[in-house]
Symmetry: C2
Subunit: 346 residues, 2 copies
Amino acid sequence: MAETLTATALTLKDIAREAGVSLATVDRVLHNRPGVRPDTVRRVQAAIERHSFQPHVAAAELARGRARRFAFVMPSGPNPFMQQIEAYLGEMSTWLSARRLSVETVRTDVFDPSVLAGSLEALSGDYDGVAMVALDHPSVRAAINDLVDAGTKVVTLVSDVPSSRRHHYVGIDNIAAGRTAGALVGRLAGQKSGKVAIVAGSQGLRDHAERIFGFNQVMASEFPGLSVLPVLEGRDEDDRSEQALARLLGKHGDIVGLYNVGAGTQGVAKALSEAARDKVVFVGHDVTVLTRRLLLQGVMDAAISQNPGHEARAAVRVLLALARGEPILREQEKIRIDIVMRDNLP
Amino acid sequence: MAETLTATALTLKDIAREAGVSLATVDRVLHNRPGVRPDTVRRVQAAIERHSFQPHVAAAELARGRARRFAFVMPSGPNPFMQQIEAYLGEMSTWLSARRLSVETVRTDVFDPSVLAGSLEALSGDYDGVAMVALDHPSVRAAINDLVDAGTKVVTLVSDVPSSRRHHYVGIDNIAAGRTAGALVGRLAGQKSGKVAIVAGSQGLRDHAERIFGFNQVMASEFPGLSVLPVLEGRDEDDRSEQALARLLGKHGDIVGLYNVGAGTQGVAKALSEAARDKVVFVGHDVTVLTRRLLLQGVMDAAISQNPGHEARAAVRVLLALARGEPILREQEKIRIDIVMRDNLP
DNA sequence: CTCAAAATGAGTTGCGTACCTCAAAACACC
DNA sequence: GGTGTTTTGAGGTACGCAACTCATTTTGAG
């Protein structure tokens, strides 16, 4: 009734003996250094695979000497979600220093492609890995590819640049997030008919556009009785969002649901309460101090959330695994779309 | 615009010099070995804290020599959720062997206190850490405490034994899970009045009892119009659950919601469909092959889920951190209550 | 066959810690 | 002041690998 996993106590020396070569040759193969005949390479690799040999991480880490340096490129604005990510990076400091890893945070204007691209280029050569909140733009894409070509491991965070050659994306599928929001609004509203409002930062932002797309998909296919009103753009600002929504609420008396795609939550909540329309189902994004309060008060009904702590840690782990040449535990690093309601507030 | 975390390149030698003692003495302090004057201990600790020195994990690991052995004590029955946990442990094998960690799975009858306690005692001395799915019973509690006293690190998994001196619990808060289920059933049902059914494995199981408690709490306080029927006990078996539920559905024509607390999901779904009562809001637990299908078909409306992969990995990481004397990243190891609906199926 | 280039062997050093031994120094007690 | 005990120093070895040097062997081209 017992099963054992792992624990090969093999070392490089054993592999060398097995393959009938010297330690030096095994080392050359392992780090694809030149000067080994293809045939010999194959023999060594065969021996490695035969015993499914894994170099001892601790020994490798100790032997390399120099510490690994990672950079996190984050937006300079006062975005609470991004601040949470940075805070969670801070909480890892003990973990990081016990592994002799250094993580540096670089703040820049990620919304200006040329500024962002410039910041990325400035990092070249100094870091083993870079995690970035990036805009999808040709010059950013080029900067990312340059980093990759220079041997730096690159991870996109929260917002992806799929057309680049980045090694990994740590973040959610925003279309699925929008679909989830749609399903929640539709189901929680209950009614068969009525109108639904959407407040977004800007439809020009990739993640917002994707969320709206997913939301509309679900509304059209599953809640045909609910009609979606044109998207209000609030630029993630409280005042702007409030005014736009107040106007809309005044015009339509039969709004039963509201999806707030980005920030500006404070303004949205204010517009709702001042219009005394607290029966409207209100679904938004992210768990912050504010949305937590709104959920507890019953003003917000659900928040779609991506765990910032998980994103911070996943980015570090992925960069480390990439740098070490270890496989990535995809299941572990995947960021899930959390539905947060009052009773499962984290 | 840049901030740096960590990367003290200090070594034990530096600390020794700082404290004006030899390496041997620092070593004695670090591992609380005897033979050091209290005053000297303080001086060394002061030096360590002054520089917030952290021993290099890789070096420590390498120097230990012997590999760490962990045991996972799992239920012997064919529980799909537990099988998933074991499967995810299997996926970690590369990660484990690169760190020279061995994980052994021991299957036993965790529902029989004396058998479980016996299995635990049999592990004594052989392992650095043990993770277990445990029953809360005096003799189990005693066995756990014995392990702890013998220096073994102990983590309870999925089901806790809070009265024991186990070092950590990896699992969810079941009362909160029940509350979440209640909120979902209530909200999704929409109606102001009607009846709600509960199917559980047994009210004698701690986690089931806690879930029911939380569920009733929410129903009573937030959905006074919905009346909860007496709990059906299906012993987590399909047939039993089906028959019990079929009878109940026949008796009450106004059932609008159903909470399935444990397994037996297949039977519950069958009873619902054969009674042609697919309008009933159906909330259950865990994402398995079956519940995934039911969610996609619209038979189930939501599943409360705890991520088995996360639990498996968290248990290993916590055991490792405990064994190394490292701090635990509580935020990371916390198991969240996931609400899974069709559109955010993982 | 000759010679240069390529491939390989053999060896060294160092990473930072754990764990061990033995001798020397400091201390406590009578 | 002598004795025994406690505390401390000094040093060594080992862990598994990275990274390097240098000598030697093998290979292929002409």
